[in-house]
Every structure is written in C-alpha cells, then in structure tokens.
Amino acid sequence: MGFEYAPAPESRSIVDIKASYGLFIDGEFVDGRGSSFKTINPATEETLAEVAEASDADVDLAVKAARRAFRGWSRMSGKERAKYLFRIARIIQERGRELAVLESIDNGKPIKESRDVDVPVVAAHFFYYAGWADKLEYAGLGPNPQPLGVAGQVIPWNFPLLMLAWKVAPALACGNTVVLKPAETTPLTALLFAEICQQADLPPGVVNIVTGAGGTGQAVVSHPDVDKVAFTGSTAVGKAIARAIAGTDKKATLELGGKAANIVFDDAAIDQAIEGIVGGIFFNQGHVCCAGSRLLVQESVADEVLARLKRRMGTLRVGDPLDKNTDIGAINSAEQLGRIRELSEIGVAEGAERWAPACDLPSSGFWFPPTIFTGVTQAHRIAREEVFGPVLSVLTFRTPAEAVEKANNTPYGLSAGVWTEKGSRILHMASQLRAGVVWANTFNKFDPTSPFGGYKESGYGREGGRQGLAAYLKGADA
C-alpha cells in the first residue's frame, strides 16, 4: 500500500559549489601537484566539481604542516584548544542546512538523514570532545596524558562528514594535529569543513585535508612522520594498513566491515522490530558498516515477520535525495552499484529467493531497490560478504543457542541487534554476541558519548566516548 506524496524538494541554493577545489594545507587552499578528478552527484550523474588528487609530495607537505603545527597545538592549554572545538561545533550547527544539502548532493543520502542524523551528530561530536580537551587528566587513562603527534586519517564515503568528525574531534581534543583524506567520491563536505576551520581561526596546519583516491590514502598512512593511523573502510584495506605499519611505532584504529545479525525472537514487539529491521538495513541505502544485513528470525514468527516486513518495504520511497519524503536515496557510485548487483545475482544463482517491492527508479543516477533474500543459508555469499547496499538476507533459527551460533558465524564482529521483550534474554544475548555494539530493541543508534568499534576482523580501537580518547593519547589503553 503506497501513499501518494507531492514532491517536497529541499532547495540546493543554500550551497555554493565551486568549479574546482585545491587541497587544504597549512590553513590555506593550495593547488595540488598531482592530477585532479571529478566528483559527481550520484542521483543525477552530473559533475559537481573538479577536485585535486594529492600526490605523495602534497601529502608530504601536509604532514610537514601538521608537524609544525603540532608544537603549538599540543602545548596550548586544553582550555584554549577546547574553545576552538566549541567554535567549530557551533559553526557546524549554524551552517547545518548547508552541510546537509551538500552531503546529500555529493553522497546521495536522503536529506532527512543528512539533516536529522549526520549533521546534528557531527556537531554533537565536536561539542562532546571539546569538553574533554581540558579534562584529559580526569579520563582515567594515565596520570599525564600526552598526544601522539600527527594523525593520518582516511575515511569512507558512506558518512563523509560524520566520519570526519569521529576522526578529527578526538584527535584535536587530545592535542594531535591531523592530515585527513576524505573518500574519492565524497570530498565536498570535508572541503567545506576546511572553510569552517578557517572561520574558526583554527591555527594553520592543525587540520589538513588532502583529497584523492587510494594512492593518496596509502601515502597518508605510510608517511614516516605520521604517528597515528585512523582508518574507516573495508576489512581488506584495513589488513593492508596493519601490514604496512608492522614494525613501526604507529598506533592504529581500524573501523572496518561488518555483517551484523539482527535477531528477532518470537516474543518481540513485532511492529517495533519491523521498524528496526527496516532502519537496520535500509538506513543510508545500506551503506553502513554496522548495518543489520542478516535478519535472524525465530522460525515460529518468520512468516508473520516476513509478511509485515514486505508490506512495510512497499511504503519506502526511493528517489531524489533532496526530497524531504525520500527514505532511500542514490547508491553512492557506479562501482558500488555494480558490486550490489553482482552479489545480488550471486544470491539468486546460489539458490536464495529475491524479493523487492515494485518501485519506480529514476532513469539517471545509481539506484537499487530495497531488497530481501529468503531461503538464505549460512554458506551463501550474501550471508557472508558485506554487500554494503539495501540488501537483507533472511535466515531462521529455533533456539537462542542457534541464534548465537549463527550470529557469531562470521569473521566480522561490529554490531548486532536483538529483539525480545524478555530482559534476561536480552542480557544473555548481549553477552554472547561477539560484536562491539549491541542494539537491543533498537538499531543503528549513534552518539558521541557511546564507544563504537568492532571485534575480530571488524577492526580494533574504539571511536566515541571516553574510550575514543585512548586512541589519541600516548600509552593509554582504555
């Protein structure tokens, strides 16, 4: 059952996208020495801007600038550093709508998510860590907390500005300086953030932003004068980084892939569970490392859950990311769309049953309808590999022990969901699931005070909360 909605587009006149962008090094936008690349709107395939691709020499300049700035920034009293971070948080709030629109244009995510989730949480993250800057000695991470130095940070395209905030805010609060590389397909909000740093009069070199692709990222993490590597992205690249920094003194935080189980017991509040399943896998087009991409539903309620889930999926609106009624926006890139299609076809070929509601997809841009697979076994690739798209694999179980066994049967361990009205079962499941974040009777909730990060091959280290400070302080292990 669908509802008709008139278009309700958010105006994009609030953003002013330049024709081309340089690199942000030592407080200034400078031309890169390498080539450049285009960033496009994935909903329309229009070119948005030409962006510099930082070469090794550019990265070296950025690291040098960060190193020079480290001396002053790390010796500045925490009280003063805090005020810069509070300023940044406030400017993000002031320019929130602009950031949200730009994020939706460059990334393809629905404006209601960029406006109501990404940007508010970004501001909150800076606000939270601002308050830590002058309280580090109270964090319980040792008597004389000291910054590590220059942090090389590489972030993904799924939450461009939010991942920037997760990286930059704690690093700066602890007195480190940063060289950050945004994702190739989503550089624009990071470049707008550079402008915000200028508006905040942040000392030059404290934040440097180098745009580019994998090669630039490699140059950042392997630069010999980088003391700390923070990476969010694929497990394959995370492993390559772990190998690259072997034998060095570099500290690393790796926030990698996931294949989260979202477990629904027969006594769950089904309506809430359906909303949680939908939010768990279709939020941000499923471009979420902690997405609930494996639904484990107790056999006795499987038919009912599936029927209601399909009905609910029929009401999801796929389309223009800037339309305020849109639930599912554009897939971020042609490459990602190819991967989602490939794995979905493999799902069918391996014998799972594919279902998607009828929905009209725009003729240009990259789109994939919300999709579920039933009859999935644990051996199917769609149950094992991260699809990173709006594709849900449905499996069933009979007993709590079987649910635990299936949920943990993955090399990943980032997140998990549990739906049941029985408190003791929630706590039992929470203790048995090998995952860094367990959402019980909720899913995909994020907060600056709440540590986030994985077990096993989902990486190590935590971002957010008091534990997030440990990643940026010497000798501190929260």
């Binding site: 091959e457 190590y460 935590r462």
Partner: protein, 289 residues
Amino acid sequence: MARIDVRKTYKLYIGGAFPRSESGHSYEVADSKGRFVANAALASRKDVRDAVVAARKAASGWAGRTAYNRGQILYRIAEVMEDRRPQFEEAVRQSEGITAAAARSQVDAAIDRLVWYAGWADKLAQVIGNANPVAGPFFNHTAPEPTGVVGVLAPQSSSLLGLVSVVAPVIVTGNVAVVVSSYDRPLPAVTFSEVLATSDVPGGVVNILTGDAVVLGPWLAAHMDVNAIDLAGVAGDAELATSLEVAAADNLKRVRRAPETEPDWTNDPGLSPMTGFVEHKTVWHPIGI
C-alpha cells in the same frame, strides 16, 4: 651406595594434560654455565595447533566464569606457587644463573604479581568501563570482554617473573592463552604449568609449549583462530617481530608489540597488559514504559 635420584620428564602442557611433543622431538636444556640439566619437549607446529584447539574449547567456559571466581583461581595459583617456592627458586637460579637471593626475589615478585592481578579480576570493568549519557531515552553502557585466544611468546630472559607477567593479565581478563616459553630457560615454565594443573585453572585455559619462539611464533601469529598475540618473547629481534605483525594482520589480531629490549619485569605493569587484550562492548536499550 648413594641413592640414584628419579629425574623429571619435562613435558608440554596442553588442554590440562602433559603430553610429549607430537613430533617426538626434545632438546637439551643447559644451566647458565652450559651444563646439561634436562631434555625438554620441543614443541612443533602441530603442538601449536593442538594447543589452539584446546584453548578455543576452554574459552567460553573461562570467559563465562564470574570475575570473582577468576580472581579466586588466580589467587589460588599464587598460593600453590608459594607452597613450592624452593623448587621455583632453584629452577630460576639454575636457568638464569643468578644468586639464590636474586632468584628468591624473582619468585617473590612473581607470586606477588599473581596476587596483584587476582585482585583486578572484578575491578577492571569498573575502572575501564562506563555508563554513557547518550542524548536520548536509552540505557547505554560499555564494558570490557575478553578478546578470546591469545598467543603469548613469553620473555626469553625472565623465565618466571616475565612468564607470569605476560600470562596473568591474559587470563585474569577472561582470555585463554597459548604460551611459548623461553627457549633457553624453559624449566620454570614447566614447573609453572604443574602449578596451574593443581590450582583449579580449567584445562586449556593456559597451554604452555616449550620450544623456539622463532620457529613457533610464525605459526601462532598466522593462526586464524587466534585473536591476539603478545610478542614479548621476540624482544630485540625487530625483523622477526615485524614479520609476525604482518602475519597477525591476516585476521587482524590484536598485537602487543615486541619491545626493543626485554623490560625490567619488576616495574609496575600498569593496565596496558590487560587492556590490550579486551574488547569494549557497548549495549543500547530504549528506556520507556
């Protein structure tokens, strides 16, 4: 005629039992002056694998013990060691070539360290975990959990204090361990395993292999069912340590890096030996009626 003494066979400790190496190999252990003392079992790659299987089997049971119970068991290890002080003092003196007084102080420190760690069992979560005041109607808290099976390359010089200092933090946090002892000084580790076997430590929680970290380290570092590794035993060998870190990246093991030189184990350990092998789990639940 003088009585002929009955010599001990020094064996491996795997899954609570004392097997010889499946390879059938042993090696000569000498004292600090090069005199033959005993043949120790020379652990092989297969012994490493068997030990990992035994450790994995013991992991959930040990992690599921209450923190209070784990603390009691660590304290029990200290008690049993105290009871066997002369044996440990002699083994350390012979292995490390130090005076009887120096050996005594090493044994003292090792026992005291176990007592120190025993007390951490039910406190670490309170010190490094916390409630998180999220901006919404949710209960949210973060607490440490064991990471799982930890490979431990024990220090080469400090045969007992060093060993205890790397094993105790691993097990007090609910992990299980596969330990490779000092190659040249393995006998205190064998005696320690006999203590473990009589201290209510469930079989498989600590597995001790006598052998060469240079040979066994790569298998342990590359084993896909090992969750973390402590490289203390290859301190000073930067090339080997780097290759072990590279191997460990295959399943993103948590790595406690090899120091440039073996540290003074009498120093206050701090929390990092424990925090390096725990995972922080954050649990959310809505608050409502």
